[in-house]
């Protein structure tokens, strides 16, 4: 099976999308960008291939006659077991590196006691992974975040005067970087067998056998990546051939248009930039504007405000939705907004109202960019991390309606993959173009007459 890959190297996260030849999404992957874009791209891509294998497993399972319900239960267990295997591999590496670090000269006075504490922490963490989880409400998909919150909780409980919490955390901080930057086998091929073994125990033998065969059939389908296209801020840092790189503006435009074919205007608010893009009916960018000189009003602004308020970023939107009074925040400068926030809090204004004002301030800035790019046409698609924030969406909806009238606003829960999706479609298009070209040899019109 031929596949096409799009990779979006963002400042915060790296995403990959895999398409089949019909343009259907086979798999997606995401990881934190770390300081190593190269590795981040590989990991995101591996994840997308894993996603693709699970899609193929779904296709195989759906062909079984035993009925969807049971096989979907199996599929869910298989994925859980697979993730567990991945987590364990990473955890073991983290454990080994930590124990190695604790054995260095630096800790020679407390070496043994430190070793014992680390072993305890990692045993408890491993138990936590192996035990079937009841509360699935995990905060993040990334190993770093998951391990960090669990490790620090345990470190706090075992810390004492001679081995304080800070010391334990400093080992973690050092070692997690090593773990993140070390390539390990988290692939489908490397982990599926164990995962399969662990989750067909409970099924009756005949069923288990047909599931295992379905998985084997899915695993045997060769996946040939014909083309990959890279985009995003990190794209220059990878040795992609030049023809294999697209700007993220083009990719977001096309990705939004693929997700919502009626899209004419795209707003993308990411971590460090805001883009207002106009596309034609085929998803081709006709005009765009981006913030520059200053990243005020981007996603990081909300991150900063969340820190100032001691909240998680995901809590800001819901809290702002409880606003009852209109508070006008003038500053979209992140630093000034922090000052304004503290000032208003001391004046006794409610957090909910201030937050609603801050969300409005971000959207006002985006409105200015939209105006510069040519306005808001129907349909209007909102992408980027901030599109998941309901208060930002509410402010945008209101301001767009006030300024441009009724517009259909599209937001996909998977909007974070928009750039990678566009890149993957560029890969697909490039392939069909080269086939057309080789079928009817025509001189390429690069630099040719308009």
């Amino acid at each position: 099976m031929n596949v096409f890959c799009g990779i979006d190297l963002g400042s915060t996260t790296t995403k990959a999308v895999l398409l089949d030849e019909r343009g259907d999404i086979l798999g997606r992957g995401i990881t934190n960008s770390r300081s190593n874009y190269f590795l981040a791209a590989e990991i995101a891509r591996d994840e997308a291939f894993i996603g693709a294998r699970f899609t193929l497993i779904d296709r195989e399972l759906s062909r079984l006659s035993e009925g969807d319900k049971q096989s979907s239960g199996f599929r869910k267990r298989l994925l859980t077991q697979f993730r567990k295997q991945q987590l364990l591999s990473q955890l073991h590496l983290l454990r080994d590196k930590s124990i190695e670090e604790a054995a260095t000269d630096r800790y020679r006075d407390i070496g043994h006691a430190l070793n014992q504490k680390l072993i305890h922490i990692f045993e408890t963490m491993e138990e936590g992974i192996r035990r079937p989880r009841l509360n699935a409400g995990k905060k993040s998909d990334f190993f770093r975040d998951q391990a960090s919150s669990e490790y620090s909780r345990l470190a706090e409980s075992v810390a004492e005067e001679s081995i304080p919490f800070e010391l334990l955390m400093s080992i973690f901080d050092k070692v997690i970087i090593l773990v993140e930057n070390q390539r390990m086998d988290l692939t489908f091929e490397g982990n599926i067998r164990t995962a399969l073994g662990a989750c067909i125990d409970g099924d009756n033998a005949g069923l288990a056998d047909s599931y295992a065969q379905a998985v084997a059939r899915a695993a045997a389908i060769p996946l040939t990546e014909l083309r990959a296209i890279g985009t995003g801020y990190g794209r220059q840092r990878l040795p992609f051939p030049k023809e294999m790189i697209r700007s993220e503006i083009l990719c977001h435009g096309l990705g939004a248009n693929i997700s919502f074919p009626g899209t004419a205007t795209v707003l993308d608010i990411g971590g460090q930039d805001t883009k207002a893009i106009q596309v034609d009916a085929r998803g081709i960018v006709t005009s765009f504007q981006m913030n520059d000189r200053c990243a005020a009003g981007c996603g990081r602004y909300l991150g900063y405000i969340a820190d100032e308020m001691n909240l998680g970023v995901h809590e800001l939107g819901p809290m702002a939705m409880n606003s009852t009074r209109h508070v006008k925040i003038n500053s979209t400068c992140t630093v000034f907004a922090g000052a304004e926030l503290r000032d208003r809090l001391t004046m006794g204004q409610r957090r909910e109202d201030i937050l609603a004002g801050l969300h409005r301030a971000i959207i006002l800035r985006a409105m200015a960019l939209l105006a510069r790019s040519g306005g808001v046409s129907n349909e209007f698609t909102f992408t980027g991390g901030v599109a998941n924030n309901q208060a930002a969406v509410a402010a945008l909806r209101k301001l767009v309606s006030e300024n441009y009238g009724d517009r259909k606003l599209n937001i996909s829960p998977d909007s974070i993959y928009t750039g990678a999706l566009g890149a993957a479609h560029f890969a697909l298009r490039a392939e069909s173009e080269s086939r057309t070209e080789s079928a009817s040899p025509m001189s390429s019109s690069v630099g040719g007459s308009p």
């Binding site: 890959c5 990779i7 190269f38 791209a41 590989e42 891509r45 990546e225 014909l226 083309r227 990959a228 890279g230 801020y233 990878l238 040795p239 992609f240 051939p241 030049k242 023809e243 294999m244 697209r246 700007s247 993220e248 503006i249 083009l250 034609d280 085929r282 081709i284 960018v285 006709t286 005009s287 765009f288 504007q289 981006m290 520059d292 000189r293 510069r372 040519g374 560029f426 298009r429 490039a430 069909s432 173009e433 080269s434 070209e437 390429s444 019109s445 690069v446 630099g447 040719g448 007459s449 308009p450």
Partner: protein, 441 residues
């Protein structure tokens, strides 16, 4: 190679001319020459030269400071004196240079002005700039009020209005300053020489209509306009320079060569652009590289018309000496109204067969930047060619965000590529160069 020898000739010639001029300035006091500070747009160089006065162009000094990486320190120096971050960076670089000893671009000290001559009032900042210099130097100022081409033309009344000021205010002041009487025959000689050099300049600028273009009409263009827009218009040196340049460009056309960049001959021409707005000077070569690395050549730019839109037909006319000077004052690019500027941009896009319009919007230059977004939309609409927008500053290095600009420029070029292909696909040259993404095995 003979080509390189010829290339060197015009560059060496210009270098020599500049060095000669600054050394005259450095010894002006000893030689008893009087010095007039004036600005490039609408400058009256021929008239000044006919009185044996030496012109100094503060914005040229500022851009030179930018290219020599000195403007950053000058700008912050000026800010110490209370100039806001939003003040024109040329002004601050000039004030900072003055406060740091007034050492000019060639390393020699610049003489103080004996007169400040403002012959273009379309830029409000120019007036404020000379108010500041007047306070520093305590010297006389002549300010010609030059009407804006609000209706798109220089009417006979407008021309007369400027001529009357030249006659009634400026010439008497220059006579007084130089101790010489106004010699119209001498002025005519200068104007005659100007027109000859102007013909060759236009030929050079219009050579960009060729495919591939033998010149870059923006980054290369700023070197070509140097002599004509400053102290050398009307001199034999300028005539020689443009004759040399024209021969070099002709040679490049015959050999089918593209522009010469700081890194040698440009590779194949992939994009032809029209650029509106001044360049950034602090990162000039870095900015240029972003273009030629992508195979983008600028075939026409409005910045190379700031000292006169010669390609619309204007030439200094010795038969109407004062009228022609008045027309020149009122005819510089930023004195044109927005509809005229749009017409000119559309003309360039069409006649130079450009792929689109790119605007480099300058943070601290209102003369250029006001109205640019509207102009951009209008040019897009009329020509059907995509427009792009980047933002930098003249000589304040703090406002050049390389990653951001590169990102926009690349996006813009890819957008052109996509449009060219009619939208079905967008790859640049996926024929033979196709490789798998081998970094991701």
């Amino acid at each position: 190679m003979s080509h390189d020898t010829i290339k060197d000739q015009s560059m060496l010639k210009q270098k020599e001319m500049i060095a000669g001029h600054f050394s005259k300035l450095a010894t002006a006091k000893e030689s008893g020459r009087k010095v007039v500070y004036t600005f490039v747009p609408g400058n009256l160089t021929e008239l000044l030269l006919s009185f044996d006065l030496l012109p100094v162009y503060p914005e040229i000094n500022a851009l030179q400071s930018g290219m020599r990486k000195k403007s950053g320190a000058y700008v912050t120096e000026a800010e110490k004196y209370g100039h806001s971050e939003d003040v024109c960076a040329y002004v601050k670089s000039d004030i900072g240079m003055l406060k740091s000893g007034n050492i000019g671009p060639t390393g020699e000290k610049l003489p103080p002005p004996d007169l400040l001559l403002l012959s273009y009032t379309g830029c409000f900042t120019f007036m404020k700039w000379f108010e500041l210099l007047k306070r520093e130097y305590d010297c006389p100022v002549v300010m010609l009020h030059v009407p804006y081409q609000g209706d798109g033309t220089m009417t006979p009344d407008m021309r007369k209005y400027v001529v009357d000021q030249i006659k009634g205010e400026l010439i008497p002041k220059l006579e007084q300053l130089s101790g010489k009487t106004y010699d119209e025959d001498r002025l005519k000689e200068y104007l005659r020489r100007s027109a000859r050099a102007e013909d060759d300049l236009v030929w050079v600028l219009e050579s960009a209509r060729h495919r591939p273009s033998p010149i870059d009409g923006y980054f290369g263009g700023v070197y070509y306009i140097g002599p004509i827009f400053t102290a050398f218009r009307g001199t034999e040196d300028a005539i020689d320079y443009y004759r040399l340049l024209r021969a070099e460009v002709k040679d490049r056309i015959e050999k089918g060569l593209g522009p010469v960049t700081p890194e040698g001959h440009m590779g194949s021409e992939k994009y032809r652009l029209v650029v509106e707005g001044p360049p950034n000077w602090t990162h000039f070569n870095e900015f240029w590289k972003m273009f030629y690395d992508e195979g983008a050549v600028v075939v026409a730019s409005t910045y190379t018309r700031v000292g006169g839109v010669y390609d619309l037909g204007f030439r200094h006319d010795p038969e109407r000496p004062l009228e022609t000077l008045a027309d020149y004052c009122g005819g510089c690019y930023t004195n044109l109204n927005l509809p005229s500027r749009i017409d000119l941009l559309c003309k360039y896009v069409t006649e130079y067969q450009a792929d689109g319009l790119l605007i480099n919007s300058i943070k601290s230059c209102n003369s250029f930047s006001a109205g640019q977004l509207m102009m951009m939309r209008e040019v897009e609409k009329r020509t059907g060619k995509p427009a792009g927008f980047v933002e930098t500053d003249l000589v304040d290095p703090r406002y050049f965000s390389a990653a951001n600009i590169k990102n926009r420029l690349e996006s813009y070029l890819q957008m052109i590529e996509q449009k060219r292909k009619g939208g079905t696909t967008c790859s640049a040259s996926l024929g033979d160069g196709v490789r798998r993404l081998e970094v991701l095995p």
